[in-house]
Amino acid sequence: MIPETAILLAIGIPLAGALAIALAGKISPNVREAATAITSVSLIWVVWGLLPTLFDGGRPAVEVSELMPGLTIAFTVEPLGMLFAALASGLWLINSIYSVGYMRGNNEKNQTRFFACFALALSATMGIAFAGNLFTLFLFYELLTLSTYPLVAHKGDAATVRSARIYLGVLLSTSIGLFLPAIIWTYNVAGTGDFTAGGILAGKLNDPEIGLLLGLFVFGIGKAAVMPMHKWLPAAMVAPTPVSALLHAVAVVKAGVFAITKIIVYIFGVEFLFAAPSSQWLLYAAAFTVITASLVALRQTNIKRLLAYSTIAQLSYVVMAAAILKPLAEVGAAIHMVAHAFGKITLFFAAGAIYVASKKTEIHQLRGIGRRMPWTMAAFTIGALSMIGVPPTGGFVSKWYILAGAFQADNLVAVFTIIASTVLNAAYFLPILYLVWFEREKEGGKAHGEAPFLAVLALCLTALLTLGFFLFNGPVIELESQVVKGIS
């Protein structure tokens, strides 16, 4: 298959899958689940098939439509997007396995709509990953917001609809109110919005404006949840757990930080931005978010909300790493997307498994649950250790690179933030681990075992990935190093 076709298929397959799932839902749940499985396997086949081309330094590109001169829908595969697409498509398969166990175990309603919207969201994610210019990125960014709205509002009761309104409200108003003006500004200044190695703005924009445009981008991309645009993420926790796991730990939030990284690298250009003093604030904003979100996480009593605030902090890690504007840190940003994805999806899977098995949602209820659900809680532990950055987990690798980048730039703020947040991460995860493994369960609790097999299987797989990434991260680093080739 030629790479150009593969790009279009990567977007088309989940789209067609959404349709197939919607139709298959009328026949029987098993046919529908088979449709999801076939779609996600073929998506992996297509997306991962692009990897060899990328390792050889190829940059396959395809243009779909020229809306008006200069404004095109076009796709280009480059290492950052490739990594994001490979990650999202791979985890979608595991997440689908988990979803089947979770949704059936919970007797959820409207499962067809759920799986169809999920496939649609993946199509949007692929579009974001492969977007060749700002307009295409924006197009799929909005599609991702809209296709995940029904997933967040899945339960349909008044409180859920209210939360979903916050979700949609924050994401749409930041994107229309800030992101779109930033895009228009870029097109007007540079005459193009194509993602180009080295950036397109060098020499076309002066200093205070650079910082302003960067601000429009960073806060306009609400999905990255840089404070104060983070409120939607805790609100989104009303969604069924598979949604929180894949979308609000991987696809949607990573789409945000991915977009910011891509804009820094391919629109501004790393060196151009490094030379502009007015872009400095981004590092502080991200560092502030890391620390504040970790502090808020300390005070959470609900498992999913704690994980949400932890995600906010971890996302700003990526933004901060990108904002250090040094090669090692840019690589660190890309690796952290992967490492955090594996760890956080495991944690969410575990939270969902606990809910399916025991209907428990609060942290204090977890006392001694490790004995009832050993597999689930072992995976949870691995995920938590990865969040803290303890070897041998993936979280250690990315922290290492980000720290190295921070030293490369002599950036003590970043170094301090990483150290402080590591302490904070430990402070909110270790008590949970203690509670789970070493405390005794209260008398009179409901007897329960592990969650349905498919759910446990999925979370064990992602826990293995978290561990495996510590050892086998070579290809990812090799690929992402291409992004910063020639930058000092």
């Binding site: 779909v64 439509s65 809306l67 809209l146 509002a153 609809v161 109110g177 779109l180 228009i184």
Partner: protein, 496 residues
């Protein structure tokens, strides 16, 4: 002489002569078939004309072979072709879908008369667009208005009568103002032909009557076009009209008056009155901005589905006017594209409303519970058209917003302020569209006597088609864009 040369005339003649014939088609369903056939033929004619003038040429036609300025002249250029496409497209699509809804709302024996009035309204609207003569524009305006009064009052809703009375009074004042203006210019120049008028005003020594005429014409047409704050007749007229009539009129009726307003101003007045373009810009821009903001705010708090969409229409008229008030090629082109795209979005929305209304008697937002599950396709179309109205990328509405924002940035130092207004009003559109979404998807299902299912396939198919067109023209906007660009170039050339 080949057929193409006669098309400007046939564009009016086909629906006009079909109108009396349709009255004769009494047997069940035939009147509908006849009217639809006529509307489809006019749509085909409009399409052919649009392709012929795509490159910027103008097709002139002299009725009966009498040359202008003595005979009746028709002329079709890119701008009129764009509006013709909208008018005939809306007329044909609405008629194609209309049968189930009309059967439900209008007694069988009155239907032939109703369809006949529909064709008269259509021929009046296309007549306005193709006329190259100020007085004939007035005549066609009256034909279309009288016919649309009948259409609006033709449904079972008695509240339509006071609504139509208000519309009639306002419409008559508007038409009279226009006529006074045209009369004044005729007094000074002795001609009614627009091109001739433009040439002869140059010889007029005392321009004051022409200036007064400009005032009357602008006010009169603004009244008919529902420019804020002259829009008060719109919400009731749209709300209480038969649902299919709302589809037709909301998609194109006010836009035709706006077309005349823009054309008259650019082609006749701006060339001759000193710094008239500044007057036009400074008068229209504040009205457009106020219209956009106030009407969107009203829509945010409106509790009735049709009235909400009617308010939104007034805001959208504001967008079209805003583009025109920049007096630039970019601005006019944005206006033209938005005229087309808004017809698609609003037409689609009102079609979906007609589907809902087929099953739900009460269209207040809190009475639509459960529609999302009972009528999934209708609601999906509603959402897609709603997104287009908001201007989400990938839909037609985004294209016009993008053009409008770029035109605003070019327009001068206040550009970023205008961009802010456009973006804020887009967010307001998110609010009012999402109120509809929440109403149909998340409200508790209302109790009904009979189980509610999807709307009839005929209605549903056209609704879905229009929704898909909103996406198609969002990804491949070349045709409306090219027409609008040619139109803008012609208008600006005329204004030089």
């Amino acid at each position: 002489m080949d057929l193409l040369a006669h098309l400007p005339a046939l564009q009016v003649v086909v629906p006009m002569l079909s109108a009396p014939l349709v009255v004769l088609l009494q047997p069940k369903g035939l009147a509908w078939a006849g009217a639809t056939a006529a509307a489809l033929v006019s749509f085909a004619i409009a399409l052919t004309l649009a392709l012929a003038v795509l490159d910027g040429q103008t097709l002139d036609y002299a009725m009966g072979g009498w040359p202008a300025p003595f005979g009746i002249a028709l002329s079709v250029d890119a701008f009129s072709a764009l509006v013709l496409l909208v008018v005939t497209g809306a007329g044909a699509a609405a008629l194609l879908a209309a049968k189930p809804s009309i059967d439900q709302q209008i007694e069988a024996e009155r239907q032939p008369l109703f369809y006949s009035a529909w064709l008269l309204a259509l021929s009046g609207l296309v007549g306005i667009v193709v006329s190259a003569d100020a007085f004939n524009i007035f005549v066609f305006m009256e034909i279309s208005s009288l016919a649309s009064y009948i259409l609006i009052a033709g449904g079972p809703d008695r509240r339509a009568l006071p609504a139509v009375f208000k519309y009639l009074i306002m419409g008559t004042i508007g038409a009279t103002f226009y006529l006074i203006g045209v009369g004044l210019i005729y007094m000074m120049t002795g001609t009614l032909n627009l091109a001739d008028m433009e040439a002869r005003i140059g010889d007029v020594t005392d321009l004051n009557p022409v200036l007064v005429a400009a005032g009357f014409i602008t006010m009169g047409l603004a009244l008919k076009a529902a420019v804020f704050p002259l829009h008060v007749w719109v919400p009731n007229a749209y709300t209480h009209a038969p649902h299919m009539v709302t589809v037709f009129l909301a998609a194109c009726a006010t836009k035709v008056s706006l077309y005349v307003l823009i054309r008259f101003d650019y082609m006749v007045l701006q060339t001759n009155l000193e710094s008239h373009e500044v007057q036009f810009a400074l008068f229209m821009m504040p009205l457009a901005i106020l219209g956009i903001l106030v009407a969107s705010a009203v829509a945010m708090f409106e509790g009735h589905l049709k009235r909400l969409l009617a308010s939104s229409s007034i805001a959208q008229i504001g967008y079209i006017l805003l583009g025109a008030s920049f007096v630039s090629i970019a601005g006019l082109s944005a206006s033209g594209v938005h005229l087309f795209n808004h017809a698609l979005a609003k037409g689609g929305l009102f079609l979906a409303v007609a589907c809902l209304a087929y099953q739900y008697r009460d269209l207040r937002l809190d009475q639509l519970g459960g529609a999302g599950a009972r009528m999934p396709w209708t609601c999906a179309a509603l959402v897609v058209c709603g997104l287009s109205l908001i201007g989400v990328p990938g839909t037609a509405g985004f294209i016009s917003k993008w053009l409008l924002i770029n035109a605003a940035l070019e327009s001068g130092p206040w550009g970023w302020g205008l961009v802010a207004i456009i973006l804020i009003s887009s967010l307001m559109a998110v609010v009012y569209i999402w109120r509809i979404v929440e109403a149909v998807y998340f409200k508790a299902p209302v109790e009904t006597d009979a189980p509610i299912s999807e709307a009839p396939i005929q209605l549903l198919f056209i609704t879905g088609l229009v929704a898909l067109l909103n996406i198609y023209f969002g990804l491949f906007p070349q045709i409306p864009l090219e027409l609008a660009n040619s139109a803008a170039a012609l208008l600006m050339e005329g204004a030089q």
